[in-house]
């Protein structure tokens, strides 16, 4: 058995082991469903209530992806602007940190005030949650591009745009993808916060209603769905990352064109 496969098996065993331990402890100690439902019960709830949960799942996924897409667009644009020159970097960075440290939960009521409850504030919250890691990483990647690499291009009389396209952006890709993996999970957080506060659709809304009626297994079913969605998007971006930035980790698969 190769070490790679062994590590994957160990990882899977840890996850399954955790759930088995959870199940056993709940049964042995006779924990009430209202406090902490058993994993088996969560699965049963998931399957039984799926027709009810499914539209909300789609809503949450849709809101997150749209918000995340806007976050990427705005984040890359802002990051390129800030990272393109030393001056812009020094001037804009304090402001950026200031905005980034505002708790996003506090902004949701403002969005609701402006746009009304529903999908729009959720998309906006997902967007601003995912925006900052992308901006900071893209800007840092561009600002730390080795001057020698730019000199190669400048000696060839390349213009600013060509340097950005051929050196700046490829060199920034590892930073960009690292930020995407953080940002995609944050986008889910943003959507769910907004759905909890002001929406009548989405997993966040389902969970809030379920918890107010002490339907704890349904709350946990909602959590499970969110975790599954988060992991799925993370895996997708990791896969693309490996394809695009394999050079940065010096992967043999990348060099072989796989």
């Amino acid at each position: 058995m190769n070490p790679h496969l062994r590590r994957k098996l160990a990882s899977a065993a840890l996850i399954i082991g955790l759930f088995v331990l959870w199940e056993l402890l709940c049964r042995m100690l006779g924990v009430s469903d209202i406090v902490l439902p058993k994993p088996s019960q969560i699965i049963v709830t998931l399957v039984q209530r799926m027709p009810q949960l499914w539209p909300h799942t789609v809503q949450t996924l849709y809101t997150t992806i749209v918000g995340f897409a806007f976050g990427i667009l705005a984040g890359v644009a802002l990051g390129m602007l800030i990272g393109s020159s030393r001056l812009a970097y020094d001037v804009a960075y304090p402001l950026l940190i200031g905005f980034a440290s505002i708790p996003k939960v506090a902004v949701v009521p403002i969005f609701v005030l402006w746009f009304g409850a529903g999908t729009v504030p959720a998309i906006l919250t997902a967007m601003i949650m995912s925006l900052f890691p992308i901006v900071v990483n893209v800007a840092t990647g561009l600002a730390t591009t080795e001057p020698e690499l730019e000199d190669v291009m400048r000696a060839l009389r390349a213009n600013k745009l060509e340097i950005l396209w051929n050196v700046g952006l490829p060199r920034t890709m590892p930073y960009f993808f690292a930020s995407l993996k953080v940002a995609v999970t944050l986008a889910f957080v943003g959507t769910v916060i907004s759905e909890t506060v002001a929406s009548n659709r989405g997993i966040g809304n389902v969970m809030m209603i379920a918890s107010s009626s002490f339907d704890v297994p349904l709350v946990f079913a909602g959590l499970t769905i969110l975790a599954a969605l988060g992991i799925t998007l993370y895996v997708i971006f990791s896969f693309i990352e490996g394809r695009v930035t394999g050079w940065a980790t010096r992967k043999d698969e990348f060099a072989a064109g796989l």
Binding site: E146, D151, V152, M153, A155, A158, V167, W247, R250
Partner: protein
């Protein structure tokens, strides 16, 4: 925009590269560093000139001035009879570090100038997989890198990366080739092998070359002329013509005439060092 043919049919402009009363000062007022005092230099078309001298004497500065990467504080830099930057000029540059782009294969790295520099850039899309690819393969083979086109920079040794870097500086048939200590970080044997390759490339293509080096043997082996510089402020204090016939071999560097020449240059450089470092 000039077509490449026009540059070749144009009567040879002598000198091809000219520095006229050029000075360069870094830093703000009060803390100024005079990198280059009034410097004059003429290089004929197809000539091979080496710049040697103590570190910090402004050797690399001259290359950057001629390439147009930095601007002179005063004075004029002419290339092909025009002020530098006034006219598109095919310039190749190789540095002490290979500076290959790690996300591109060796082939794509070498092909980079063809993507940027006119007139090649206009045909890049159509010829990328045919004519240009063959051109890259031929040049790679010439420096002993045949079959390495698909590799990535990190899969190659330092010497091989430096060969690829030389290929990149030559692929677009530059009229002007700037070499900034390209062999400095290599071991003795790789270096001597690359000298021979460099000499062959120069003899077959005849670009105008400016070579910055610390190695007098290298300067004597490769160059037609050796300019010795002194530091703080940098200026050219000696200009020696190298008399040995081409193609030169490593054996030439052990002949008494060659040794006498390098010894004289060595003494010039030692005496040109700033006093506090001379001890």
């Amino acid at each position: 925009m000039t077509s490449p043919g026009a540059a070749e049919t144009r009567p040879a402009i002598d000198p091809f590269v000219q520095l006229q009363q050029v000075t360069l000062t870094y830093g703000r007022e009060g803390k100024q560093v005079h990198a280059l005092a009034e410097t004059n230099l003429k290089v004929g078309q197809g000539d091979f000139v080496a710049l040697v001298g103590p570190s910090g004497c402004g050797k690399s500065t001259i290359l950057k001035l001629v390439t147009g990467l930095i601007k002179a504080t005063s004075g004029y830099v002419f290339v092909a009879g025009r002020e530098v930057g006034a006219e598109p000029m095919r310039v190749g540059m190789a540095f002490q570090n290979p500076t290959l782009l790690p996300w591109l294969s060796i082939r794509d790295n070498v092909m980079l100038p063809l993507k940027i520099v006119p007139p090649f850039r206009f045909e890049y899309r159509s010829k990328r997989k045919t004519e240009f690819r063959d051109r890259v393969e031929a040049l790679l083979a010439q420096v002993g890198l045949a079959g390495f086109g698909d590799k990535f920079p990190w899969q190659l040794s330092g010497g091989m990366m430096q060969r690829a870097s030389l290929c990149r500086s030559l692929i677009h048939d530059p009229q002007l080739l700037m070499l900034d200590e390209p062999f400095g970080a290599l071991d003795q044997f790789t270096r001597e092998e690359l000298w021979a390759i460099m000499q062959d490339l120069w003899l077959s293509r005849k670009p105008t070359v400016l070579l910055v080096t610390h190695d007098l043997k290298e300067a004597g082996y490769l160059a037609n002329r050796i300019c010795v510089m002194r530091a703080r402020p940098g200026r050219i204090i000696d200009d020696t013509t190298v008399p040995f016939a081409r193609p030169r071999t490593i054996e030439v560097t052990y002949t008494p005439d060659f040794v006498t020449m390098t010894q004289r240059l060595r003494e010039l450089i030692v005496s040109a060092r700033p006093v506090k470092e001379a001890a």
